[in-house]
């Protein structure tokens, strides 16, 4: 596929000399595009004048595939949407199915869903902060955050056998109950999380060079954030106090006590820091869940294997690590959905990039892309 890109016609600068833009292709195969993202950057010297993101390199047609699969078979497909956060991608889809079919999920399953979702949020944020740090050159930070993520991934491996794509949250509940001693392991993990996060905070966010790189870069105003349909930490960094877990509390979140972390200036530093501080809140939520969880069923009784919801449409959303992840399902009464649409937060957040990057330099562009935290599985579907 060839894209016809031309440097815009040579103009004359103030002294009357011809000036031409440099068109740089930050290609799909690049260490810091967070996956397969491509940006066509028009540079005036070292300053970015225009950025055109080109996406679709990971488009697999998941929405089309979903039309030819049963409701249960679609769950592994949702794993691969936001592959850094499979648990909550599963959950958003399952909530839409449950709404469509009128299924009530048992309480223990809801608690388990919240626990795994918050653990997944910690893992996802660690990945995001780590790769942002690697983009700015602090490679050791990448390793440290992945060490924290390793703790989560090991817990998931003990729980459902998988390290990346879990297929755990199913319509009607969850697929397996927790193994013996798993909740103690989780509590040990969350207990050790606080000091480790403090250390990461001091190491990366306290560093003068990091501050110089991240502060004041990619400032997003709250009005723009809302107008462009963005959500999640990218928007909370600008001071917009909006978190679906508190303001549209679903599942067992109404029973949890936690703070919504909000930034001030809306630059890359605040967005990244919001992600770090959210991990503390997630640890709090997990501990409360484990304290409140009681024995019980983990899957709705009497659910047919071939789920065939009545004719209709339903939409449900959750707060994922990237923002408001929603699934819109249309049913025609059969066991396969007529239409599945995934409202992907990373896709909507990425639309902010051309707006934020103008006027910054090339290294800042990389930092801004990292702060928007795109995962291209979700952007492209």
């Amino acid at each position: 596929m060839t894209l016809q890109i031309e440097s815009r016609t040579p103009a004359l600068d103030d002294a009357g000399h011809p000036v031409e833009e440099l068109v740089l292709n930050v290609g799909p195969s690049h260490p810091s595009t967070h996956g397969v993202g491509r940006m066509i950057v028009h540079l005036d010297g070292d300053v970015v004048v225009k950025v055109t993101p080109v996406i679709g390199y990971l488009h697999r047609g998941i929405e089309k595939m979903a039309e030819n699969r049963t409701y249960l078979q679609i769950v592994p497909l949702t794993d691969r949407l936001d592959y850094v956060g499979s648990m909550y991608a599963n959950w958003a889809y399952c909530r839409a199915v449950e709404r469509l079919a009128g299924i009530r999920v048992p309480e223990r399953a809801e608690y388990l869903r919240v626990i795994v979702c918050e653990l997944q949020r910690i893992a996802s944020h660690m990945m995001s902060i780590g790769s942002s740090a690697a983009d700015t050159g602090a490679f050791s930070m990448f390793i440290y955050t992945f060490d924290v993520r390793e703790g989560v991934v090991e817990l998931f491996e003990n729980l459902c056998g998988s390290r990346l794509t879990y297929n755990y949250v199913r319509p009607g509940g969850v697929s397996k109950d927790v193994p013996e001693g798993w909740t103690d392991d989780v509590l040990a993990f969350t207990g050790s999380l606080g000091p480790r996060l403090d250390e990461l905070d001091r190491l990366f966010f306290g560093n003068t060079i990091t501050r110089g790189r991240l502060k004041g870069v990619g400032v997003l105003s709250p009005e723009d954030a809302v107008a462009w349909g963005a959500s999640g930490p990218a928007v909370r960094g600008s001071g917009v106090n909006w978190d679906l877990r508190q303001h549209r509390a679903y599942s067992v979140y109404p029973r949890m006590e936690f703070d919504v972390v909000v930034g001030e200036r809306g630059d890359a530093y605040d967005r990244a820091r919001v992600r770090l501080l959210e991990c503390y809140e997630s640890a709090k939520i997990i501990e409360q869940c484990i304290a409140q969880m009681r024995a019980g069923a983990i899957m709705t009784e009497g659910l047919p294997r071939l789920l065939a919801p009545p004719v209709g449409e339903a939409y449900d959303h959750i707060e994922s690590a990237r923002g408001s992840l929603g699934v819109y399902l249309v049913s025609d009464g059969s066991e396969r959905p007529y239409r599945m649409k995934v409202r992907s937060p990373a896709f909507c957040n990425l639309a902010l990039l051309p707006l934020l990057a103008v006027g910054h330099t090339l290294p800042d562009l990389v930092v801004i892309l990292g702060s928007l935290d795109p995962v291209f599985g979700e952007v492209d579907r």
Partner: protein, 154 residues
């Protein structure tokens, strides 16, 4: 009063013109409009305080396409589905980019996958598929040799 009824009454108080178009489907408030009234209704909603466009999508219903817009409002604590219909042979309608900037990429995606043209869109071109792709995959009559049909037995 259910949440839906509360929403209905509040919206009725704020704008009597929108109320008669309401219908309830699965607990989400839905407004259905004709294609020609789309921009007007969108601007009304925007003025009421629905400042977040979350999702734009389309459903292929054989003779027509249904366009679904989900708009939300923090201040009103409400979300509403705005639906409209577009005939298959004449699949174009007004772009809502002027009302909500968030519509930009979302409408490009609908154009890319369904072939619905949005008049007035600043930059309508394919977003997920390559520029030289032929056809609109999410349409029900999309033919492609490379698609593997899964067997009907489960």
């Amino acid at each position: 009063m259910t949440g839906f009824e509360q929403l209905q009454t509040r919206l009725a108080e704020l704008s009597p013109k929108l109320y008669p178009l309401f219908s309830e489907e699965f607990g989400d408030a839905v407004i259905g409009v004709e294609r020609s009234q789309l921009i007007e209704t969108a601007e009304e909603l925007r003025a009421l305080g629905f400042d977040r466009l979350g999702m734009v999508t389309a459903i292929d219903r054989q003779e027509w396409f249904t366009l679904v817009y989900r708009v939300a409002s923090r201040s009103l604590s409400a979300a509403v589905f705005l639906k409209t219909r577009v005939p298959r042979e004449d699949a174009h309608l007004d772009s809502l980019c002027g009302v909500w900037p968030a519509a930009n990429w979302q409408e490009r995606e609908v154009f890319d996958l369904f072939g619905i043209v949005f008049d007035g869109h600043p930059d309508l071109r394919r977003i997920l598929l390559p520029e030289d792709w032929v056809g609109y995959p999410l349409r029900k009559d999309y033919e492609d040799d490379r698609i593997i049909r899964r067997p009907d037995y489960i």
